[in-house]
Symmetry: C2
Subunit: 491 residues, 2 copies
């Protein structure tokens, strides 16, 4: 494994861009169930063209993680999603001809994207343009996750063209529900456990930092996403002159929210932090060694200080390792231009709680509901809908050959690699680690300060190409390792 081996790396850049544009220009917003199957079919065509045997698998209608939640609390419920159309999972596979019993890498990705709103803030008001300006390609999904998908597919295509074979076995699992909490992935992994057997998972995202250094991220936070609707007011929006006699659901919402989180950010729900796993020695070491340009970070996001004036080690610890409670959406009454005097019928808050190991989203949901009940809120005043949930995950050890191959390959290609204990974001890694019993690493082509989930999301062309090279090198290097050894190292 040395740098020289990849000096000859050369892929068809136009082909990568064209295929990525095809995917970006096909909106696939899982939250709105728009364009899902259409996007899956376009993706299947691109994979087939690359030489990957691909099929669409429809998850079992009855396997939704959220169907059978029976909250013991009066206030909480989860929606019945049984009848929703489920986007297919795109499964792909190539077995190595030379090394069929060798190692297997599973690429986990997703072809669904976040909602494009607010459209007004996109340049040219086109969130699905796929337009290129210089080194940037714009559009919802350009980075998260269609850009990443292309680096995996094009790496495989490159190797197939170069060798007429693939150095180790590769599998692709590309789902269409990641942005809505992957409700069917747990059941899918259980059902297809043998098919998906692998020795390591390359996760769906990864970043380069402000100095173009690649990050190797070893975990993800979990999430509990709820929608709280306050009622208890009039049966319709009414004239605000009635405010002396009729309760305003927006005021009830203020009361609810102030009981959930303190001004300093601490979550006020009893026992919320109880199962939080203490940081291990190796995690503390990683945090200490990790460079973090705080001023650059602040400048990028237009802030002059961190929450509670955090800095140094503590800032990194909070970012990667602490739970959060965030208001993603809040609305009630009149939001138009100018003024309207109205007493609204309801208020809605969309709240995402990020979770860290070993917090359990179901238990936290119950705690939230119980807490608000304890605070005196009744079913007449509010309801709490569980919108989605994912447990947190971290690799329990880094003494793993798969992770070592990734790290060494990164150092070989980029001269450096920065390990992180966890992403601050979320994905269903917990199920991959536990059901497939495989280590997972997040690496990818996104710029750390790109605009994922926001208007004018973009991917950098140089990083897309470099990551394609990186992934192809990982496949080559992983192909060189004896399967027996790998198994031993896992044990």
């Amino acid at each position: 494994m040395n740098r020289k081996s990849h000096n000859d790396f050369k892929i068809n850049q136009v082909d990568l861009i064209t295929d990525l544009q095809t995917l970006i220009r096909q909106p696939s917003v899982s939250a709105k169930n728009i364009g899902m199957t259409e996007c899956a079919i376009k993706l299947q065509n691109i994979m087939t063209k690359a030489g990957i045997a691909t099929k669409l698998i429809y998850p079992d209608q009855n396997s939704n993680e959220f169907i059978n939640i029976k909250s013991e609390s009066k206030l909480g419920y989860s929606p019945d999603l049984k009848n929703d159309a489920i986007p297919p999972i795109v499964y792909g596979e190539i077995r190595s001809k030379k090394n069929p019993d060798g190692k297997t890498i599973l690429f986990y990705n997703h072809y669904d994207v976040q909602p494009e709103d607010p459209v007004d803030l996109w340049e040219n008001k086109d969130p699905f343009s796929g337009k290129i300006h210089g080194n940037f390609i714009y559009g919802r999904g350009s980075s998260d996750d269609k850009g990443e998908i292309m680096t995996r597919i094009k790496a495989v295509e490159y190797l197939l063209k170069k060798y007429g074979d693939i150095p180790c076995n590769v599998k692709f699992l590309i789902e269409g529900e990641e942005e809505i909490g992957s409700p069917h992935i747990k059941a899918f992994l259980n059902q297809y456990k043998e098919l998906l057997h692998c020795d390591g998972v390359i996760w769906e995202f990864g970043y380069f930092d402000e100095k173009d250094r690649p990050l190797i991220i070893l975990g993800v936070k979990g999430i509990l996403y709820v929608e709280i609707v306050t009622k208890g007011g009039p049966s319709r929006d009414v004239h605000s002159s009635l405010a002396s006699l009729i309760e305003n659901p927006a005021w009830i919402m203020v009361n609810v929210l102030k009981n959930i989180r303190s001004d300093s950010g601490r979550i006020l729900i009893p026992d919320w932090y109880r199962e939080m796993r203490p940081f291990s020695n190796y995690e503390i070491t990683i945090l200490q060694e990790q460079p973090f340009d705080e001023e650059f970070f602040k400048k990028e996001y237009g802030i002059d200080k961190f929450l509670n004036n955090l800095n140094g080690f503590e800032a990194k610890k909070y970012y990667e390792g602490m739970p959060t409670c965030n208001i993603s959406g809040l609305y009630s009454g009149f939001s138009g231009k100018g003024s309207k005097t109205v007493l609204p019928n309801k208020a809605v808050a969309k709240i995402d709680f990020r979770l860290v190991p070993d917090m359990d989203p179901d238990l936290q949901f119950k705690r939230l509901c119980d807490h608000l009940e304890q605070c005196g809120f009744t079913q007449d005043m509010l309801e709490i809908k569980l919108v989605h949930k994912t447990p947190p995950a971290r690799n329990s050890s880094i003494n793993n050959q798969f992770i070592s191959v990734v790290e060494e390959t990164a150092k070989n290609i980029f001269d450096t690699a920065i390990k992180c204990i966890s992403s601050a974001a979320t994905g269903p890694m917990y199920y991959f680690m536990n059901i497939l019993d495989a280590p997972c690493v997040c690496i990818g082509s996104s710029y750390k300060y790109g605009k994922a989930h926001a208007p004018n999301e973009y991917a950098r062309l140089d990083l897309l190409l470099k990551t394609t090279e990186y992934i192809s090198a990982i496949i080559e290097n992983f192909g060189k390792i004896n399967r027996k050894k790998l198994n031993q190292s896992k044990i």
Copy 2:
């Protein structure tokens, strides 16, 4: 003055409906500056056709009440509205031929309407339909205030046709900015004080209760309408995984709001209640005598109890005589279907404070700003925009011949009349009382439980006709009173 005198009342109902439909179908939303002059011209045509000499007068560009506010607080500001197009005031006049030196009634109304949102909740999604179903005519403005305007115009038209003259002088002042706080009315009244000289003002609205009894309302609440924008977060909407390091403006908003009002509805701003005038004996008597069907009220608005379990005298006192703090609008981040994980760039709250005599909106605005500054909020975290303001007003006495004529006419036509110390709603009555030195009474054709300011606003045709008769009888009866006597009674 007896009932018989109006047994011959007969107006052209089709004509009233057609003219009202013309006005409803011309949207005139002052908050959005849509259709204002168009509506004024249509109104002028209708008045001219009725025989009323009418002209459009444009308020002075520099007379906006909000321009010269200099809040001493760092957080507060008022928008510079100098360059906004100002809707014309429709002024109309008929002098009595027989009784030119007699009494003068001024009708104050407004042709602007509240915003039509949310359009989805209107039947057929058409807020400006003017459609008739049975006894109801639908559309924004059907009741507030285009329906009321028609009762005044058609009453005058009826008398002109009947007598070829008008029993007392009448004047019309119909403005286009009532729903945005009448920012130019004070200057207009000062400028045209002589032109507008009158002995009594019929206010722009009035109600019939659930038993079709007419209300005579003797005051209005004031208002302070502010828009609070919290900042202090990222310079754009960002991924919610950043919530452990970056402050969320929606959480700052929760913190702001909980410092403004207690859960029980008490306003927490120091000295807020200081200038509240104690209820006079006559006000207490009116409140005590006033029927109030609490169960009917609750049923109409779909509630099972009043705020803080108020009832009886206390409920009436709060409704008519106590200040409020209402959230009219609240929004931040993602409000679409499903979920999006975003940390928003800002949060906005639109708050209307209703004021009672002798609270001063300017002083209250300063107190609000100072209070939030005292709470520790800085200019980096929030700004408070004064959107509009109107002082409260109540007739200081009911020993007034104009009010007596209105009351006796009501009793004559309806057998009953219910006096109220104040509307819970707002209008610029303070300026009329103080600049024109005239008593003001609110009477009109609206049903107390109609849907003013809300979707599916309607007017009842029977009440429109009955009120037209009522107004014409008031003009007749007021024409019978000697001017000298009236002046004496006023002194």
